[in-house]
Amino acid sequence: MPVAPPSLPDDPADALAAVGALRRLADRVEDAAVARAAAEGWSWAQIAEALGVTRQAVHKKHARALAGADDGTGGH
């Protein structure tokens, strides 16, 4: 028997807090996914198209972090 999907929390404060938590989770997933794609040789254009955003947007958001990851995770 399928599990019933969760309904919106009754308290607006809880429902709005859930939105914030989901956005932070989405950001973490995006960081990891972009890092993985870049490590496997995807171009910014390919990553951007897969995310449905402009190349400039994805570059602005992730270029610095990925450059930092190269020299920050030695031995990884």
Binding site: A15, L22, A35, R64, A65
Partner: protein, 149 residues
């Protein structure tokens, strides 16, 4: 934000929120809760009994509860390490609001500079968001805390 009106200690709090608290949590975005965490370890505020680790745990619990309320189990996603985070950080709306409220608090008290205690008042003035939610989870009485400032 006119940082020249902040005392050196108050500026150091904003810096610590960005360099230590936000980045440790793997984000380049400084939120009000990062200011709170930085404030909790400031020597001038130790008499308030704000426990950094307890607040951090409460924030984690707040996140888990919020995700659970829409059907996401905590620990579903093993995120990237903090070392892969950006070197530059920016102030999010919640942090900017806290700084604006700190400015108002300083003005109300006719203080010329924005001090660490004003920053805490600014952070604690939030009616909504992760700061009041986490403080409630941590069992910290917000009214009592505000009254002691």
């Amino acid at each position: 934000m006119a940082f020249e009106r902040f005392t050196g200690d108050a500026r150091a709090i904003v810096r610590a929120a960005s360099q230590e608290e936000a980045r440790t949590q793997g984000t380049g975005t400084v939120q009000a809760e990062h200011l709170l965490l930085a404030l909790s370890v400031h020597p001038a505020l130790q008499h308030l009994g704000l426990d950094h680790d307890r607040i951090e745990q409460a924030l984690t619990q707040e996140e888990e509860r919020s995700l659970a309320s829409v059907g996401i189990a905590s620990g579903d996603f093993d995120g990237p390490s903090a070392s892969a985070r950006p070197h530059r950080t920016r102030l999010a709306t919640s942090a900017k609001l806290a700084l604006e409220r700190a400015l108002l608090a300083a003005r109300r008290r006719q203080a010329r500079r924005i001090e660490v205690s004003h920053l805490l008042i600014g952070v604690l003035s939030a009616g909504q968001g992760r700061v009041p939610r986490a403080l409630e989870i941590a069992g910290i009485d917000l009214e009592q805390l505000r009254a002691s400032l």
